[in-house]
Symmetry: C2
Subunit: 208 residues, 2 copies
DNA sequence: TTAATTATACCCGGTATTGGGTATGGTTTG
DNA sequence: CAAACCATACCCAATACCGGGTATAATTAA
């Protein structure tokens, strides 16, 4: 199930998208907001897989919102939704971590395609968008290292089946610190517990 | 570290083996008993990797003790230690789950070799023992399936990162039942927590 | 057809993990 | 240099897990 949050100050458009997605069995809208601040609140609460956000919004604009979302939840995919094809806006929100850019005057079914594409880990830019000025890595893999040095070390130890207190001993640090790192990783990676974190560690075979 | 428990009603022999193993850095004696009942108690308490047991013992003989140990802790390796090379005794204790058979009139260093061999997952029979009547599988892989059907199913789900309550929902059964299965598996496999169980599940890639 | 095993479900007390915080120094970097 | 980021360490309340039990019905094996 692809969970989606929408931020858009024109309620009519929100309603339209809601209508469009209503009968898509693999997509579920978990919240919508009319400004950036409300979007952030929804994202923190629901942690959707995909965020579809307008760029021009009250309180917090879409670019800043994207930056904030990607900082707290690097795994959440953001799609920008804008009236105009402005090179500067495309550049800025992509650098902020967005995975796609849609135009409001394009057919609505593009929304559907874009959501599925970014949820699958790809990027999706409206055909009308000139992306030539974006480097290939920026579009497809804008990911810097998500985890910090300590976090990676701790994840490695978790992958060895160590418990939190064993890790704390090995690293000569407090249990609370290891717990904090573990919790930050769970948040950053969008996981839901030590089990999934261990799974992630073993699957990635320490390539993170 | 290979942890070892010894059961032998002649204390002098226990002392001798203690002395022998004292300077082996990779082997540690975690307990010794003079009868089968005391052995069981030690095994339950310390859960050693290897048990070295006499066959003729007060209260519970070595064969019955082996059966009981292997039932509760299939991962614990048992080496029989006997005065005589009796085919029937060799057959019975091997069928009970023992991984090796030593003779008391053999050089003491055989004990060392046997412990390391069985700890590594091999079998070890004294050279004087005629093992021709034992089938190859009986000697090297006397293991029937350690885990039951439900246990294997639950282990698979654990391997997918599911929590206990998620598994209970999926199987339409009580959380307490899933917990019981999980705990039984941890005991049977000699693990120490859900972390290691998950590790085991992923490592064995569901070949259990 | 008994005996053993399995699956089910619950008890207890104790420890670990979770998911939110806050806070304080260092480091890095624009 | 100020803003970000990182590592550190702690708080809290709620939930999950651990490692022992017991018990009962159903199924399987000897």
């Amino acid at each position: 199930m692809i969970t989606v949050a929408i931020a858009e100050d024109h309620q009519s458009l929100v309603d339209g998208i809601n209508l469009l997605l209503e009968y898509e069995e693999d997509i579920s809208i978990v919240g919508s907001a009319n400004d950036g601040e409300a979007l952030l609140a929804i994202v923190r609460l629901k942690q959707p897989k995909v965020v579809l956000t307008d760029i021009k919004m009250p309180k917090i604009d879409g670019i800043s919102a994207t930056r904030l979302i990607k900082k707290e939840f690097p795994h959440i995919k953001v799609i920008a939704f804008s009236m105009f094809d402005q090179e500067e806006a495309v550049r800025q929100i992509t650098e902020a971590g967005a995975s796609g850019y849609l135009l409001k005057n394009s057919p609505l079914d593009q929304v559907l395609i874009a959501i599925r594409e970014v949820a699958a880990g790809h990027s999706f830019y409206d055909k009308a968008i000139d992306t030539s000025f974006l480097s290939e890595e920026t579009k497809t893999a804008p990911r810097k290292l998500i985890l910090s040095k300590s976090e990676r070390e701790i994840l490695k130890l978790i992958g060895q089946g160590k418990t939190t207190s064993e890790i704390a001993n090995l690293r000569f640090t407090a249990v609370s610190t290891v717990e904090k790192h573990r919790k930050n990783m769970i948040r950053k990676l969008g996981l839901s517990g030590k089990g999934e974190l261990l799974r992630y560690a073993l699957e990635k075979k320490y390539n993170f």
